[in-house]
Amino acid sequence: MTSPSPAYIEEALVLAQDRLTNDVYRLTVEATTGGSPGQFYMVRAWDREPLLARPISIHDADEGTISLLYQVRGRGTELLARLHKGDTVALMGPLGNGFTMENLHGRVGIVTGGIGIAPMFYLASTLPARSATVIAGFKSTPYAVAALLSLGVEVYVATEDGCEGTRGFCTDIFDPAAFDVVVTCGPTPMMARVAQLCAQAGVPCQASLEAHMACGIGACLGCTFPTTSGYKRVCADGPVFDAAEVIWHA
């Protein structure tokens, strides 16, 4: 798949910063570079430290704006969370392959863990109405669910502390037999379980992987993941892979 060339935008204007939960934020910036569902941007909003930009998936995009949903995990995301309307961020993207949309037909099951829900709003809004069902797992308070419901998407929630939905993991309430194709994003052990359930049921599954990255563009080979055809770059060959090709327990 040949995607349009990425751009480097040194100063993209922040249009909004919304706090969704205690540690999950949605940043909306002015940019015309767009992208397709499952692609990501390298994002930087600081001078020297930390050294590297952070890869963040596209939560939503239109002709003039891009929004990014992220969870504060470390120094980089902590600095992102301090941005206000009117500040600027450096963006490089769109990067990566994105979901293989031509293979997403029929009943599409979207299984997510935690912040893995981030790319799914854009995906669900691109799919035909009522074709997608989201099964989302969270540690505690869910987020980004209301926006999915507003698209008319069915959403089933599992929370580890039982504060909402079913108590447990998303994989506890996921039955691959209900779908023609599955898309997943979340912690690696969770995706490995989804991939296993899909393989047993004979349902194709696309998994969006996460990795520490340096360049984000395929040059440094720092974010590789083992697959049945050798190490693949999460940033450039992925982040979306056929789950059957990924060697989950290397």
């Binding site: 340096a214 360049c215 720092g222 190490y231």
Partner: protein
């Protein structure tokens, strides 16, 4: 910008993309005009393809990063067939970086690369910290390095630049040994051998235990080493190590470097090298200097 002469090769400017940070040029070529660079060093090549290292490969540190890629590359024959034809259209000098697991692999690799017309310079990597059987092992003792350089020199019909490890016992002695063994230039420094420990997993971050540290954190040490090497040899020295701004580049040139390589800074800002080229141009015009 004054042109720079390196081992008889004219570079548009003294700013070179460092090996391992720029692939074979195509990835960043989607983002900016790479023909504005002085040269591109290829990802480290070995005669035979290498899969690279398992586990974590990059790790951020204060003002730097560690890497343990393990010379993942398609092998020199595949490079010559698939990557080099595309590289030669990029409008900049090509420096082929070559590593090896043993002496025979180095010699055969260099011999093959020597036959390729569009390669301008061969950079001999005796300093990779991330492969077990070789790489840096050749870069620590001056007499061992001299043996590799002399053997490679006999088959190398291109200008030969030797990339030195900061883990060498004595960097000036190492540079002199390479010069005497037939090197046309030395480039330094490669990454510093370093360690990071995951305190929650209670084990090293990298499967290989140690990994190479690069970035601004190493710049002052690299600068000192370039100074020492440049005072010890008559052949050109190419400065490498945490160069992020044009001012950093000027420091290395003043320490005695003929040109500089930029690596980690490209990850920080993809167009960092273009900024450095612009900055050097403005500096030369303002001082004023006709050459660096």
């Amino acid at each position: 910008m004054p042109e720079t002469m390196l081992c008889g090769v004219t570079l548009k400017n003294p700013v070179i993309a460092a090996s391992g940070t720029f692939g074979f040029g195509a990835e960043y070529g989607r983002l900016f005009d790479v023909s504005k660079l002085g040269a591109i060093c290829t990802k480290g090549l070995t005669l035979h393809p290498r899969e690279g290292n398992p586990g974590m490969r990059v790790w951020e540190t204060p003002a730097g990063m560690m890497n343990s890629i393990g010379l993942q590359n398609p092998g020199i024959p595949a490079f010559l067939e698939h990557e080099l034809p595309r590289m030669r259209t990029m409008g900049t000098a090509i420096i082929a970086n070559v590593g090896g697991g043993d002496l025979e692999e180095y010699v055969e690799g260099v011999r093959l690369l020597s036959e390729a017309e569009s390669i301008d310079i061969i950079e001999l990597n005796i300093s990779c910290p991330n492969v077990h059987e070789g790489g840096m092992a050749f870069g620590i003792k001056a007499n061992v390095a001299a043996g590799v350089v002399a053997a490679v020199r006999r088959v190398c019909r291109k200008p030969l630049m030797v990339k030195l490890s900061p883990n060498a016992e004595n960097i000036a002695d190492m540079a002199v040994a390479c010069e005497r063994a037939g090197a046309d230039a030395v480039s330094l420094v490669n990454a510093f051998n370093a360690l990071a420990i995951d305190i929650h997993a209670r084990k090293p971050v990298f499967d290989n235990v140690t990994a190479g540290l690069s970035g601004p954190a190493i710049k002052p040490i690299a600068l000192r080493m370039v100074w020492e090497a440049a005072h010890a040899v008559r052949i050109p020295v190419v400065g490498i190590g945490g160069i992020t701004t044009w001012q950093d580049a000027v420091e290395f040139l003043m320490a005695g470097a003929t040109a500089v390589q930029v690596g980690t800074a490209t990850f920080v800002k993809p167009t960092a090298m273009l900024d450095i080229v612009d900055g050097l141009e403005r500096y030369c015009a303002a001082e004023p200097l006709t050459r660096l």
